[in-house]
């Protein structure tokens, strides 16, 4: 038991150290700053600039949160405050199943439904042409993937708003919606922010589904209809070739390391926020 315990506690550090040691090789050659902000990606001639990938990652991640955030918030309020029994009976299994669907299935669905939808219907609305394999497709697929995750946390957060506050608000004559708007949302605000933070980190690290719909062109995307190439997709796509060039291998491990650090920071901040607010209650 102690071994299992120690394993769990040191595993995050172990992963970090392992990846860092592998990526040290490239850090000796090129400075971290140059790697992160140069947009030259030519592995064969030893140029590794992560900037296009980082920008793509930011695009899809933020886009997915913009889509999923409002939907999750509204649904969470609906399910905790207003929903009839039959809605709850449908929605609970729906959320569970959505959470259980593997990412590769989301990817297949994205190529089947979202990609044609974008190229045939959405892009013409904005007078642009695209193959459909774009940042927008990645954002939508990611949004669907993080919805169950964010929604579950939000439901939990809204459930912990103390009933006394609600009663006090209702007894001084506020309507139900006013109570939600001024009491629940304000009280749950840190929780909402941390739920979104966890959602962000989840979609930042998502690999296969994004890889299948985002187009994978190593260029800085200038709009949502252009293809992008997020960091996880970069790692997954090049795993075969990298072994031949040590620097390449090291660069990809650095990408994984960056991914780990960003996700850990987001997680840490969100979790700390949740723990803090729970203590104050």
């Amino acid at each position: 038991m102690w071994i299992a315990l120690v394993l769990v506690i040191i595993l995050p550090f172990l992963i970090g150290i392992g990846l860092f040691l592998k990526s040290r090789l490239i850090l000796q050659d090129v400075s971290l700053w140059e790697l992160l902000f140069s947009s030259q990606w030519k592995p064969l001639s030893g140029k590794f600039g992560f900037f296009p990938f980082i920008v793509s990652s930011l695009w899809v991640t933020i886009l997915s949160l913009l889509i999923a955030g409002p939907i999750c918030l509204l649904t969470a309020i609906h399910l905790t405050q207003y929903a009839d029994n039959w809605v709850l009976k449908i929605m609970h299994p729906v959320i569970d199943i959505l959470a259980g669907i593997p990412s590769v299935i989301y990817g297949v669905w994205g190529t089947l439904v979202i990609v044609p939808l974008i190229s045939n219907h959405i892009a013409p609305l904005f007078n642009t042409e695209t193959s459909g394999y774009s940042i927008l497709a990645g954002g939508i697929v990611l949004a669907v993937m993080i919805i169950p995750f964010v929604l579950n946390i939000l439901i939990e957060v809204f459930r912990t708003v103390p009933i006394e506050l609600t009663e006090a608000s209702l007894s001084v004559g506020a309507s139900k919606w006013q109570t939600i708007k001024f009491i629940h949302i304000r009280k749950a605000f840190p929780g909402i922010i941390s739920a979104f933070g966890l959602g962000l980190s989840r979609s930042f690290g998502e690999t296969i589904a994004v890889l299948m719909v985002v187009g994978n062109v190593a260029k800085i995307p200038r709009g949502v209809f252009e293809p992008g190439y997020p960091l996880p997709a970069l790692i997954a796509n090049n795993y075969g070739e990298m072994l031949s060039i040590p620097l390449y291998d090291s660069a990809l491990m650095l990408a994984a390391f960056v991914l780990l650090i960003v996700v850990l920071i987001f997680n840490l901040a969100s979790r700390v926020l949740i723990v803090r607010t729970e203590r104050y209650r």
Partner: protein, 289 residues
């Protein structure tokens, strides 16, 4: 007069938000049905007995004969092996957290915090880490490396899910057990374990579903092959990767097969979900409050 107007504004606002809240819930439900429908709609026509009973033959990736039995079996081995391994490590840990460390709340919370952090790490990072481990120990891409990586990946999920169930056991039951003279281990395995078996089965099924569906962590570590897995040290095909590789082949028959494989995977996931629902219901029925 003005008061009346204010009141109507408040009412309209509430009604407006209730409507869009309802719509957003329905969007989520509709999306799930759309996903399942579109996968089955595309996949079921190409699904045949050959698909699930044969390994890829020559020219499989040009649309010739064969099936994905190797990937199905590989996925089941991988998910089964890693779920078993995670259970062996995870169950004692979850019990330990809730029995031996019962009075050390700080420690338990620290462990939960760590587990939550681990849960948040993307599977591709586990994959990359597993890959570095593999190289370090001189292993090649193999079923064993895949099982180890996936175990690390699902361990936090499993322990947290079990922890949530075990947490619900009332302290009175523990005290009763101690007062009858049982030791901590006896309490752990006779009382806690028995009380929570359905909940633990749910946790196992949840982890199994995660393990069978994850592609990014096995991409580096398990490799891919057209043969049936016969030993732990061989590369092994997995369903998600089979779908992924078939879909990237620009030939219609092969892509249709990818959809059929996706339908099989969705079917497995739905089955797991229904099973875990049944067990969860049982848990709530037998629970001593």
């Amino acid at each position: 007069m003005r008061k009346m107007k204010r009141r109507t504004i408040i009412r309209t606002e509430e009604i407006f938000f209730r409507v869009i809240m309802f719509i957003s819930s329905m969007i989520i439900a509709a999306t799930l049905f759309l996903i399942i429908f579109s996968i089955f709609y595309k996949g079921l026509p190409s699904l045949s007995w050959d698909m699930v009973s044969q390994t890829p033959k020559g020219g499989f990736y040009f649309g010739k004969e064969g099936g994905i039995l190797n990937a199905i079996v590989g996925s089941l081995y991988l998910a089964g092996g890693s779920t078993f391994l995670a259970l062996v490590i995870g169950l004692p840990l979850a019990l330990f957290m809730n029995i031996h460390l019962l009075s050390k709340t700080k420690w338990v919370n620290a462990i939960r915090f760590c587990l939550d952090l681990l849960w948040g790490i993307p599977s591709i990072v586990y994959g990359a880490f597993g890959f570095t481990l593999m190289i370090y120990f001189g292993l090649k891409t193999s079923l064993l490396a895949g099982i180890i990586t996936v175990t690390l990946f699902i361990l936090p999920i499993m322990v947290r899910a079990m922890d949530e169930v075990i947490k619900t056991i009332p302290i009175g039951l523990v005290e009763a057990s101690y007062s009858l003279g049982s030791t901590k281990s006896e309490t752990a395995y006779r009382i806690f374990f028995r009380q929570t078996v359905p909940g633990i089965v749910t946790a196992i099924l949840l982890s199994f579903g995660r393990a069978i569906g994850d592609a990014a962590s096995v991409l580096f570590t398990t490799g891919y092959t057209d043969h049936m897995p016969t030993s732990l040290l061989q590369p092994t095909a997995t369903l998600p990767l089979a779908i992924f590789f078939q879909l990237s082949v620009p030939i219609r028959e092969v892509q249709n097969r990818a959809y059929a494989s996706a339908a099989i995977l969705v079917f497995i996931i739905l089955l797991i979900s229904i099973l875990s629902r049944i067990f969860a219901r049982k848990f709530y029925k037998n629970q001593i409050k």
